[in-house]
């Protein structure tokens, strides 16, 4: 595909053979997904059609590339993936052809050319323990992030590592990993957490940015409310089983086969906010709970340290049985000792007791 920076998004889509009809369908789907009024559809269409392909710089730090895999590996050429193709992805060290100095030059050139206008996408956390833990072309993650963020119009943190620290940040956090939001305070940041996040969520955020030039409404931890506004538990199709008290006890019992609630198998749905239950994965094929696995809570901060994926959220994380037995044993010993002390106090009091006779009273 020839990437001409002067082509609008509409031009690019037409050159890809996307009909006006399917383009408008995408706009309508995007509007409904983001809970906008139908009146917004033509505005989205117009904004997208006339948008110059925005320059996007994608930085990958301490990450596993799962986020990139999720966002780029669509099974068929969906319109989302074309939209994604139609941004000017000027730097992405996994996807770009250039390597070494040429790659870094591409980043610097894009920054210079689009200063103040480009979108910065970050996946992966930033190690603060030692700059040498993760470097790109000899530049530490911290230096690269701070330098690139300077001219960014907005920063999109993709994946739980970039948004909240993710796996690198998990206890005991050997690299001193921090999130993008921990370091950048003077730019608008959109957090798109998930391990990995749902592809349509990132295209939705991009569409919003292209249409309105603003960032969508965010929740208290920086996530777009349209996608992270409802808990998995509230939107789960297995919720009626939870309410009826019907649970799968193991992964292969009758309950599991009948598709009952996975709460007892450790499902973090009640404390997790994400769009999986409605948007689903792999072009709407399925999602973890539908395939029989409890939600891990991957779009929430510190989900690795939540006390075990297969332990339900209402049960203690420590071995309380052992604690209780030790406490009981200790207390029984203490109780016996206290009882003995009370008894000896009583008997010494009885021994020290002087009987008062009538003679004493008449003295």
């Amino acid at each position: 595909m020839t990437k001409n920076k002067d082509m609008t998004l509409g031009d690019t889509l037409r050159s890809q053979g996307i009909s006006r009809r399917s383009f408008l369908k995408f706009c309508a789907a995007t509007a409904s997904m983001m809970a906008m009024s139908p009146a917004m559809i033509p505005k989205i269409a117009h904004a997208l059609e006339s948008a110059r392909r925005p320059s996007v710089i994608w930085l990958s730090f301490q990450e596993c590339t799962g986020c990139t895999e999720s966002l780029t590996r669509a099974h068929s050429a969906t319109i989302e993936s074309l939209i994604f193709d139609s941004i000017s992805l000027d730097y992405h060290h996994t996807l770009q052809a250039a390597a070494g100095h040429a790659a870094e030059e591409a980043r610097e050139a894009a920054m210079e050319e689009n200063f103040g206008k480009y979108l910065l996408v970050v996946d992966g956390s930033i190690p603060m323990g030692n700059p040498g833990y993760s470097t790109i072309a000899g530049i530490s993650n911290y230096d690269m992030l701070m330098e690139t963020a300077k001219g960014a119009a907005a920063v999109i943190a993709v994946g739980t590592c970039a948004t909240y620290g993710g796996i690198p940040h998990a206890n005991p956090n050997p690299t001193g990993a921090v999130s993008v939001g921990d370091l950048i305070k003077d730019k608008p940041i959109i957090n798109v957490p998930g391990c990995p996040p749902i592809p349509v969520v990132i295209t939705g955020v991009l569409t919003h940015f292209l249409t309105f030039g603003t960032i969508p409404e965010l929740d208290h931890i920086g996530r777009p409310k349209v996608f992270y506004g409802q808990s998995i538990h509230d939107r789960c199709y297995r919720r009626p089983f939870y309410d009826k008290g019907l649970f799968a006890e193991t992964f292969d019992d009758e309950g599991a086969k009948k598709g009952w609630c996975l709460y007892k198998l450790g499902c973090k749905g009640p404390t997790t906010y994400n769009a999986c239950a409605t948007t689903k994965w792999n072009n709407g094929t399925s999602w973890p709970i539908e395939s029989g696995h409890p939600c891990l809570g991957c779009s929430e901060p510190d989900f690795w340290d939540g006390g075990g994926f297969y332990k339900s959220i209402s049960i203690p994380t420590e071995n309380i049985t052992q604690t209780a037995i030790y406490a009981a044993a200790g207390a029984a010993a203490a109780g016996v000792a206290l009882g003995a002390m009370n008894k000896s106090k009583k008997s010494s009091a009885a021994a020290a007791h002087n009987k008062t006779t009538i003679d004493d009273l008449e003295k």
Binding site: T271, P301, S314, A328, G335
Partner: protein, 219 residues
């Protein structure tokens, strides 16, 4: 401290501390009561202590007619909130999971909507008994600060649990952590306040019956 740290603390060390204080406190208090011993009764026994004691455990749990007439409100509201506490604590699926984890076995749960309804009724009953206590001059005079604290510690887990279940206001993680913390406060206060009656009630009723049984009179 992040909210997940907060939840991890109340599910981990916080819960451990609360359980240690609760279990140790209850056992020590029981040991103190039992080791006090009883004076040898020199009078001849005119009946069985045990059968009268056991019977009294049951009969004293059912209000007699005159008591019911005199304090209908106290009896009815008292029964409602005690039954409500039993249902919300022991028949809610996530709670049963916790018990199963600690004591090794579980039991069937009630549908969550049923438990939810019980929780609402229990909260109303507890508010009503407080209102009654404040309005009734004699009761108000007899009420100590401890009574108000115990009332608060009892209603807090119900309210925080209700809010956590319906996820009102804060994130579910924080709400769940607050709920567990409120239960831990209750556990810590339990052995050192009148909440101990949950255990001593059986012993006390048995003893009341046993005294009468020994004398050969109806308890």
């Amino acid at each position: 401290m992040s909210e997940i740290d907060f939840l991890s603390w109340v599910r981990g060390p916080g819960f451990q501390i609360a359980v240690i204080i609760f279990i140790a406190g209850v056992i020590i208090r029981f040991a103190e009561i039992l080791f006090l011993g009883r004076k040898t009764n020199l009078a001849e026994a005119k009946g069985s202590e045990m059968s009268s004691g056991l019977r009294t455990i049951v009969t004293r749990s059912i209000p007699d007619r005159s008591t019911f007439k005199r304090s209908t409100f106290t009896v009815v509201a008292g029964y409602i909130f005690h039954i409500g506490l039993f249902v919300t604590i022991f028949l809610f699926a996530p709670h049963i999971l916790m018990f199963k984890d600690v004591i090794g076995f579980g039991w069937p749960s009630l549908p969550t909507q049923v438990v939810d309804a019980f929780a609402v009724v229990t909260i109303i009953a507890l508010l009503a008994v407080l209102g009654h206590r404040m309005r009734n001059t004699v009761l108000k005079f007899l009420t100590t600060t401890e009574d108000y604290i115990v009332w608060l510690l009892t209603i807090l887990p119900l309210i925080t649990g209700y809010i956590a279940f319906h996820r009102i206001g804060m994130t579910p993680t924080t709400l769940l952590a607050i709920h567990i913390l409120s239960v831990e406060l209750l556990l810590v206060a339990f052995p050192f306040t009148k909440l101990m009656h949950a255990f001593t009630v059986v012993l006390a009723r048995w003893y009341n019956g046993a005294i009468s049984g020994y004398r050969g009179v109806e308890s």
